[in-house]
Symmetry: C2
Subunit: 415 residues, 2 copies
């Protein structure tokens, strides 16, 4: 064997998905799609590249730094998709005839040149679900319910959704005579309550010029203001099948653009994974991009963090593409092997045959490496009597069956 050349490896912060991971990932995406469609959301897709002019300046200073951008062959400044919301705004402006409310989901990669860390990638899969063109609270709860149902379909255990409403926060701060311009500062500081703890948050608020008892006052006013809202949300969410929900007056979410509902999902049994998704209402964002105001509410499931959680929970089990392998014992029996594998496939089974009549030992190792379930063993001896040996590779049992019954016998071994 020649020496391996030094060939370029993966870029830092990127990853390959080998069969086991990719099968699991496809399965997860498939389940999420199915749920979103059951809720009446339809998929769209948009290009990976957009004019930089569209994406630039939409994601703050950080976004500007982390966005992949370059000049293309036609001297256009272009950028790689950074999230799925700005492209959605462009779609809404480009196709004014889309029926509204426009309920769409999009599962697509986005790129952010973040510092690579364990479990943090520069190529991320996002699953976004949004309703554009309705300001109804029904749209709010449906986005939450659809995401809730998506998590439930994934066997991640129980999820809990925390929610709050920025309009209420605004109103509470108004009652507390907080200057309108200071509201975002207040929200951003409170957003860190989980990480910093109450004491530090109070210190930080005081330092920024808020009253010393602002947090206590805020809590009192909010409890009062939110009563009816909380009851209504609970009724609507329960009505749509959401089981665990909690009003959280301290929940703010980082992004500046939310105008009403904000929400966040956590795994009840794995709280250490933090938020596995969230979103909110953003009634001004599309207008700020397109010039035409359009109310909107949506959420995003961060697939990579969820995938990591599922891997740790052992929910992602070894998977294989093929269930059955037909071993190759004798080249002259090739027509029989082809016939078997064809019949297995026609019966809906994932099946392959080994291409070369190499030592059986090697073929068993291949089947094991691919985690296959059943091997079909058929050599010149078996051929004489039209018998075939089938072996359950997991339970190491085998039996000899009539060639004519191969399909039903393999099926009975699989299930």
């Amino acid at each position: 064997m020649k020496m391996t050349k030094e060939i370029p490896q993966l870029l830092k912060g990127f990853r390959d998905y080998l069969p086991q991971q990719q099968l699991a990932r496809r399965k997860i995406l498939g389940k999420i799609s199915e749920v979103f469609e059951r809720f009446g959301f339809a998929p769209i897709d948009t290009p990976v590249l957009e004019y930089y002019e569209l994406l630039g300046g939409k994601y703050g200073d950080e976004g500007e730094q982390l966005m992949y951008k370059f000049t293309d062959q036609g001297d256009r400044k272009v950028a790689m998709r950074y999230d799925l919301t700005v492209p959605l705004a462009r779609v809404m402006a480009s196709y004014p005839d889309l029926p509204k409310p426009f309920k769409r989901y999009q599962m697509a990669l986005v790129w952010r040149a973040d510092k690579p860390q364990k479990g943090r990638y520069r190529e991320l899969m996002q699953c976004d679900v949004d309703v554009v063109g309705s300001n109804s609270i029904n749209a709010d709860v449906e986005v939450i319910a659809a995401m809730n149902a998506a998590y439930k379909s994934l066997e991640v255990g129980n999820v809990e959704v925390k929610f709050n409403d920025r309009k209420l926060v605004d109103e509470a701060l108004g009652q507390l005579q907080v200057n309108r311009d200071d509201v975002p500062k207040f929200m951003r500081t409170l957003d860190k309550l989980d990480k910093m703890g109450e004491e530090k948050v109070i210190a930080s608020l005081t330092e920024q010029g808020f009253a010393a008892d602002i947090l206590k006052e805020y809590a009192g006013v909010m409890d009062d203001l939110a009563k009816n809202y909380v009851v209504q949300m609970q009724q609507l969410l329960s009505g749509l099948g959401v089981e665990r929900m909690k009003f959280d007056k301290y929940l703010m979410r980082g992004l500046d653009y939310y105008t009403g509902l904000v929400f966040e999902f956590t795994l009840v049994e794995k709280p250490e994974f933090g938020s596995v998704g969230g979103g909110g209402r953003y009634d001004k964002l599309i207008g700020s991009i397109t010039g035409v105001d359009m109310p909107a509410v949506g959420g995003s499931i961060g697939l990579d963090r969820l995938f990591a959680a599922l891997e740790e929970m052992g929910v992602i089990s070894p998977q294989t593409a093929a269930e059955v392998i037909v071993f190759n014992l004798d080249k002259s029996l090739t027509p029989d092997y082809l016939n078997m594998v064809k019949n297995l496939r026609d019966a809906g089974l994932d099946a392959e045959f080994y291409y070369d009549p190499v030592k059986l030992d090697k073929q068993f190792k291949y089947a094991e490496a691919k985690n296959m379930q059943v091997a079909v063993i058929y050599g010149t001896e078996e051929a004489k009597t039209r018998k075939v040996n089938i072996k359950n590779l997991r339970e190491k049992q085998q039996r000899v069956v009539d060639l004519d019954n191969l399909i039903s016998e393999v099926k009975s071994m699989l299930w």
Copy 2:
């Protein structure tokens, strides 16, 4: 309403997939995946960005011009995926323990800054299927059979595969005393036979210094040489369920890297779409990239051309995400609407409810625009008697049913 700002549009050569197209595309990709997995191929995925060093120089001058490349934030020269074969070579080098033969498929976008034309995009979806690590003819036929089955699953009508073997071409030209170095020239010229016609090809060959009767001689020698090979291929392909195949001694395929089998699929009823997929054996390519020779055979379905063909054949019909819509007649009935929609979804139906109690007319228009099948109409009158009106929106029939029987009644209307 404010004026729409001039917001950046789609980049030239790129396209959005709105719900109808994206649903159709997802369905096609899903069917192709299913077939490939039934044949024992497992999916992988690789990053959109790779080191330029890996991709550069692999695709000839044209590739160099058309490749999207730039310098990233960390001063690395990177490039966007240009095909799925070079990344596969990197994967083979990065994970030497992958069980071999490694049978993988990958469905992923590639980018080529080609001149935009009707039906030609700069962002392309490729569906590649390859076997790495086997030089068996069984691997050759299985790649063809898997692609053949994929087309069959898509209702594109009959497909035909033409095949040839470059080893035979080499041998034939050797017998005709053609200089080894002139073989690629001969192949590239013959590759244009379909477009240029025989006369021009002969003229071009003569001009390049080949004997005047080279084509005739070649045909004779090839017919002789290929006999056994053709019979064997036909037997193997038939064994795996391929129905229409044709040996084509003039088929060459453009790429220089093929070393044995070359093949191409066309639509029997839509020959004007040209090749909708093809591939071949490339035993030297992986070694030339990684330094370790590894035999490989594979093919690629060009989804965009196929999608265009399917659109033209009317196989891509209007689709919708939701099958059933519950209309909103009265805000006070919201709990009932939620309950209905939840039960419909729990029964496996794609269902949505209209968020706002606007005029029924508007709700009907929405349902029609989304091509929904059944509307559930339930107002205060119906509520009194626990009856509900269900309407088949396609056949414009309606009937009044008991609220308790809603699910079964809607189902009977859908099927």
